[in-house]
């Protein structure tokens, strides 16, 4: 069976985001961009599911990215990790999760995967929506915030990280899974695999090819920096800390 993994190109998680002086957004010029960390976990999980011992019969992994032409680099990274083929969908305007989900729904129609594994959230806009939206559009089950995925004939059982602890739910295939941080530790692509990835197939499409209207519904009026915290004082020893805490009424 086929697994589809949508991957997003975002500001690298190690880079401190800077708000542009004109208040229109975060400065992405000349900064390191990488695959969204949750999507690396999604690609890794798909690769591990190819292992016959995992029982799911996964044979092909297709990765998709929607965005600017440079998202191609992100797809090549996924191919170097071990995905088989890629689809790049370019768009002139920024595509919101609802638009992304609609394009993905069209690709699902074409590709007929039994499983779509997404990240739980993209760390740029922190929306945490796309997987759930795609599941809604397709009428599929959604195993969100996964820390464990077990694939069996016609079924996927997902252990989910929820507020109070862990919850396990089971879904009939086809289904959606979104990854949480503890699902796995993604591999680094080796140099030979990076070379090999260059010749793996990468299809180029546009949002218009799918006949989906991706006009944004939200307008960003402004982007500002949050109120800054400044460093306070350093205390010399525990006694001084105790005095401070008592003065604050934290302890008697």
């Amino acid at each position: 069976m086929k697994v589809l993994v949508p991957v997003k190109r975002v500001l690298d998680y190690n880079v401190k985001p800077r708000v542009k002086a004109d208040g229109t957004g975060v400065d992405l010029a000349n900064v390191k961009m990488s695959m969204n960390p949750f999507d690396e976990i999604a690609v890794e999980e798909a690769i591990r599911l190819k292992d016959p011992a995992r029982g799911g019969g996964v044979t092909e992994i297709v990765v998709v990215s929607i965005g600017e032409p440079k998202a191609q680099e992100t797809l090549r990274t996924a191919l170097a990790m071990g995905a088989d083929r890629a689809i790049l969908v370019t768009s002139d305007t920024k595509v919101e999760p609802l638009g992304v989900a609609k394009i993905l729904a069209k690709i699902v129609e074409e590709e007929q995967p039994q499983l779509v594994i997404l990240g739980k959230q993209a760390i740029d806009d922190d929306n945490n929506q796309t997987g759930q939206m795609l599941a809604g559009l397709l009428g599929w089950g959604q195993g969100t915030f996964a820390s464990k995925v077990e694939l069996t004939e016609g079924n996927v059982t997902v252990t989910r990280e929820v507020d109070g602890g862990l919850e396990t739910d089971s879904f009939t295939l086809p289904a959606i899974v979104t990854t949480d941080l503890r699902l796995n530790e993604p591999r680094y692509a080796s140099l030979p695999n990076i070379m090999k990835a260059k010749s793996k197939p990468l299809a180029q499409k546009t949002a218009a090819d799918y006949g989906v209207d991706v006009t944004p519904r939200l307008t960003t009026l402004k982007v500002v920096e949050p109120a800054k915290r400044t460093a306070g004082i350093k205390v010399a020893d525990v006694d001084e800390l105790v005095t401070k805490l008592k003065a604050m009424g934290v302890a008697k």
């Binding site: 401190k16 985001p17 708000v19 957004g25 975060v26 999760p97 609802l98 739980k120 760390i123 740029d124 922190d126 929306n127 945490n128 929506q129 759930q132 939206m133 599941a135 559009l137 009428g139 599929w140 089950g141 969100t144 915030f145 059982t157 929820v162 109070g164 602890g165 862990l166 919850e167 396990t168 739910d169 089971s170 879904f171 009939t172 941080l181 519904r217 939200l218 307008t219 960003t220 009026l221 402004k222 982007v223 500002v224 920096e225 915290r229 400044t230 460093a231 306070g232 350093k234 205390v235 020893d237 525990v238 006694d239 800390l241 105790v242 401070k244 805490l245 604050m248 934290v250 302890a251």
Partner: protein
């Protein structure tokens, strides 16, 4: 505007996160609630007493017992025929259900709002809270999740909502609840605790975490949190994680012990009123946001602190 607020509950009581969502919803207009579950008369009665609440829609059915999004979403979509906005707290359940509802309504969700600027304009954090965006929606109906720490909690008494049963939409059959491991926690919940003591990778193992962090928390009646590194290493369960991808907290006092202060961690706690940091590295980034810092070896200073408090 008429809003429908998702009531987060555990089968017996309304969870605090709901109360913040009610406050946000009340800034949009009339507030109705949705209580879905199995055997939820008690929850419905408690929900009807929340200040400012109009109607409480109650869907009592086995299909709703575990709040599976696949079953809940059609129920909400049906009720949205006569509501203008769906508002859910940014809990794992809210985050699971709301986007599915949004897609079915063909609406772009506004996630994790921090303020209501007007009927169609909201502020929300992006980039782990390193930027705050003001966004305006053009959708006629709105689907919104609410950051709990950004709104006051509505009073749990004083309301006189009317309870109305709604018909079940049944079980879609695509999802089944298997089991849950919800730790019985006797400590204050992180998202509403007044004081939180959090431990990081520096604790080295679960025994140390237990022996060093917990006595201090006990002394202060505090909730216990952790960094991702401490959770990943298995010192404590996943629901302890504070940060961009864990829980967002804003207690009166947050005590970070052996936590470096990565931006993803700061994203979850930098709205705390007072931040106290204990770290042996005087250059640790956590000190840049800490109101009170103590440079020292936690294995020495934390037990001493616990004893002297």
């Amino acid at each position: 505007m008429k809003t429908l607020v998702w009531v987060e509950h555990d089968g017996t009581a309304v969870k605090d996160a709901t109360l913040a969502a009610v406050t946000a919803a009340s800034q949009l207009g009339e507030v109705h609630l949705l209580v879905a579950g199995e055997g939820v008369d008690g929850v419905a009665a408690a929900a009807a007493k929340i200040a400012g609440v109009g109607k409480v829609h109650v869907a009592d059915d086995a299909a709703y017992a575990h709040a599976l999004a696949e079953n809940i979403a059609p129920l909400v979509v049906d009720l949205m025929g006569h509501h203008d906005a769906f508002v859910a707290p940014s809990t794992t359940t809210g985050k699971n259900v709301a986007p599915r509802v949004a897609a079915l309504l063909d609406v772009m969700q506004i996630s994790d709002i921090m303020s209501v600027e007007s009927e169609d304009t909201f502020t929300r954090p992006i980039y782990a809270g390193n930027a705050i965006a003001t966004v305006q929606t053009s959708d006629a109906k709105k689907v919104i999740t609410v950051r709990g720490t950004a709104f006051d909690k509505a009073a749990t008494e004083g309301g006189s909502g009317t309870i109305e049963a709604v018909a079940s939409q049944g079980d879609t059959g695509v999802s089944t609840f298997v089991n849950a491991e919800i730790a019985a926690n006797t400590r204050p919940e992180l998202t509403s605790a007044k004081i939180i003591v959090s431990g990081g990778r520096a604790l080295q193992n679960g025994e140390n975490f237990h022996a060093i962090i917990e006595p201090l928390a006990d002394k202060l009646g505090a909730g216990v949190g952790a960094s991702r590194a401490a959770v990943d290493a298995g010192y404590v369960p996943n629901d302890y994680q504070v940060g961009q991808t864990g829980k967002i907290v804003a207690p009166e006092v947050y005590i970070a012990v052996g936590i470096s202060g990565a931006i993803q961690h700061l994203a979850g706690m930098k709205d705390s009123k007072v931040i106290v940091a204990i770290n042996k590295d005087e250059d640790a980034p956590i000190f840049q946001v800490a109101d009170i810092g103590l440079v020292g070896d936690l294995f020495k200073v934390v037990p001493e602190l616990t004893e002297k408090l």
